[in-house]
């Protein structure tokens, strides 16, 4: 990805180092950033945020992204590549929370500090976990929709990939919210593997057997929008919510197609994850866990998400992390 020539880094680091003589740290840390894929805009946002955070603290980033989305063997070999290049710290989103534990162990064995972002790794030695949990995302956005429905009506859940932690947890959040609204009936809960086309077809099929559907809880934005396409195609109306707070979802919220999206706030996660890694290297305090509450984007607050990511700036550490 974008990375200045090594000698430039070395020179600027030495220069900054001499200026900062006597301070507790030297600038110019190299941070390796691992994300899951190049397809999901969520991770593009994380990458942009890590770049902005690193730049603001005079560090640099190197990105590792599997070419085959969410590929376990590819991320594993990228970890090996990264270790040979000896980054100062790693900001790590595992493609799989269980399968990548050996990868975290390898980074630990190489004595490289790891900050875990977004998906919580099931094992390994981690400086900190930075993320929003999927359960509260599901719960938050589902509550939002069920309230709008006045606690009455029929609802469908569209799940992500079965077995993927994010889907299991989001759906658990949906179910918890449904339990709070006994007037709402869950008609069906079907997987569409986080894919827009599958969600469209699943919704088309479900509309055949259910003449009255009032709400759709989808485990990500593309599926929510696929379901909305199916509804529009059949001239039917229902409230729909997704999760990701993606740019497309924000536009759909603006035009009233989508009610809301649970926003894991990828930008803040990227910022705070990178800052945590750099702070750790500079011997500043970093909490073991930084879990943000779920953020729901809807027609009242979508405007703040319309600023292009590369023009945003990271929040201040002190504003996000309350000691």
């Amino acid at each position: 990805m974008k990375c200045s020539k090594p000698w430039v880094i070395a020179v600027s680091a030495a220069f900054a180092g001499s200026l900062a003589a006597g301070m507790a740290h030297a600038d110019g840390e190299k941070i390796a950033v691992f994300t899951k894929n190049q397809t999901n805009p969520y991770f593009q946002t994380v990458r942009t945020a890590t770049d902005i955070a690193a730049k603001s603290m005079n560090a640099t980033t190197i990105h590792y992204v599997p070419t085959k989305p969410d590929s376990i063997p590819e991320q594993m070999s990228q970890i090996e590549d990264a270790i040979t290049k000896k980054p100062d710290a790693i900001v790590f989103i595992p493609v799989d929370f269980k399968a990548m534990v050996p990868g975290v162990n390898k980074m630990n064995a190489a004595n490289i500090p790891v900050v875990n972002v977004t998906d919580r790794s099931q094992g390994g030695n981690l400086v900190s976990f930075v993320g929003t949990d999927d359960y509260s995302l599901g719960l938050g956005v589902a509550r939002h929709m069920l309230k709008k429905m006045g606690g009455q009506g029929n609802v469908i859940i569209i799940e992500g990939v079965k077995g993927a932690l994010s889907s299991v947890e989001r759906v658990r959040g949906f179910q918890k919210a449904l339990a709070e609204f006994p007037g709402v009936k869950l008609l069906a809960s079907q997987p569409a593997n986080y894919q827009r086309l599958q969600a469209l077809q699943v919704m088309e099929n479900l509309m055949q057997s259910f003449p009255k559907i009032d709400g759709v809880l989808a485990a990500n934005d593309p599926m929510a929008l696929g379901a909305v396409e199916a509804l529009e195609g059949a001239n039917r109306k229902a409230l729909a919510v997704g999760i990701n707070g993606s740019r497309e979802a924000v536009e759909a919220i603006k035009t009233g197609k989508l009610l809301a999206s649970g926003d894991p706030n990828a930008f803040v996660q990227g910022c705070i994850g990178t800052m945590a890694a750099i702070r750790h290297l500079r011997k500043l305090s970093v909490p073991r866990e930084l879990v943000f509450p779920a953020d729901v984007v809807d027609s009242t607050n979508y405007k703040s998400r319309e600023i292009p990511e590369n023009q945003r700036s990271c929040p201040k550490w002190e504003d996000v992390v309350k000691s």
């Binding site: 190049q38 397809t39 999901n40 805009p41 991770f43 593009q44 070419t67 085959k68 989305p69 079965k162 008609l187 069906a188 809960s189 079907q190 997987p191 593997n193 894919q195 827009r196 086309l197 599958q198 469209l200 077809q201 699943v202 088309e204 099929n205 479900l206 055949q208 057997s209 593309p222 929008l225 696929g226 396409e229 195609g233 993606s246 740019r247 497309e248 536009e251």
Partner: protein, 323 residues
């Protein structure tokens, strides 16, 4: 394989094989009609046909390739790139005609590349198109940069979600290509040459068939069909994203195999592929209607593929024994 069969024995085996499939289809339809009231309604049957038409468009080109004992593993990735480029052209120019040319053209050029690799570079079709798949995936991710293109004009969208005389437009496309393709394979000299190459390429060459040219032709046709399918997908989903084609190759291949086209070449038909696409679609539709969790859909697909190929082998061996 079937080169050794007498023409009549082969033809009767074909009829028997297609008969089995139609039987499976009828049993599926009867079972679902019995199990769920919503199944055998006009709206659900149109729904199933529309969903099957997307699979069929891709699978029809693939059928031609497989008839020559070839393989095209790049069809899904081809749909991905063609869709993203066509969507970009559509957004940039607002012209449906140019978008159509772009989608169709990109698909055909990719097919040409495959054809040249298979003939002039003498790469095995599996390897050539497998490599193409990876390259296309990479180019598509680079091209899209994690973004989604969405929101198209109603005129363009009618290609995927419109109706004509009460029937969804993709269904017309499916039958148009079924009849055109059927006439081409059954009655044209070119079509007969496709079968001849698949049955025995060397014998076809000796009897004057320009094997290389015909092979390049079928790969171009397969690519072009993927390009056309891409346009229908974009029009249907009202969006294009880099992973749009990711989950399409294997279902298309399953439709061809369930439809009775042999991977060894020379045996099979487009009508078989249509039946295959319908069976595949009915499995998901049925599970959704019966609200059985559709996670078992891949398993059932696998069982059907194995059973149908096995039944083919047995019926062909019997026909051979009788001949």
């Amino acid at each position: 394989m079937s080169g050794r069969l007498s023409r009549r024995a082969a033809a009767s085996a074909d009829v028997v094989a297609l008969g089995y499939r139609v039987l499976v289809l009828v049993v599926l339809v009867a079972g679902l009609a019995f199990a769920n009231d919503a199944f055998l309604t006009q709206s659900n049957l149109l729904n199933v046909l529309r969903q099957a038409s997307l699979v069929f468009l891709i699978a029809s080109g693939l059928t031609l390739v497989i008839l020559t004992a070839g393989l095209d593993l790049s069809v899904g990735a081809n749909v991905g790139l063609s869709a993203c480029i066509a969507a970009t052209v559509m957004k940039a120019t607002g012209s449906v005609a140019l978008a159509f040319l772009a989608g169709f053209g990109v698909g055909a050029v990719i097919g040409l590349g495959n054809g040249l690799m298979v003939t002039f570079m003498r790469l095995p079709p599996f390897i050539a198109t497998y490599g193409t798949m990876w390259m296309l995936t990479g180019v598509t991710y680079w091209f899209m940069g994690g973004q989604t293109i969405h929101g198209f004009s109603p005129g363009f969208r009618s290609l995927g979600s419109g109706y004509l005389f009460g029937l969804p437009v993709p269904i017309y496309l499916m039958f148009a290509f079924l009849f055109a393709g059927g006439a081409f394979t059954r009655y044209s000299v070119l079509g007969q040459e496709v079968y001849a190459i698949g049955a025995n390429a060397e014998a076809a060459r000796l009897s004057g068939v320009p094997v290389r040219t015909r092979l390049v032709m079928v790969y171009i046709l397969s690519g072009a069909m993927a390009g056309i399918a891409a346009l229908v997908y974009v029009a249907r989903l009202n969006s294009a994203e880099a992973d749009i084609g990711e989950a399409l190759t294997l279902p298309a291949l399953a439709a061809v195999l369930i439809g009775g086209t042999s991977l060894f070449g020379g045996v099979g038909s487009l009508s078989g592929t249509l039946v295959g696409a319908l069976i595949l679609t009915l499995v998901l539709n049925g599970m959704n209607l019966l609200t059985i969790n559709a996670n078992w859909q891949p398993f059932i697909t696998g069982v059907i593929v194995l059973l149908s190929v096995w039944i083919d082998m047995v019926t062909r061996q019997r026909a051979e024994a009788r001949a």
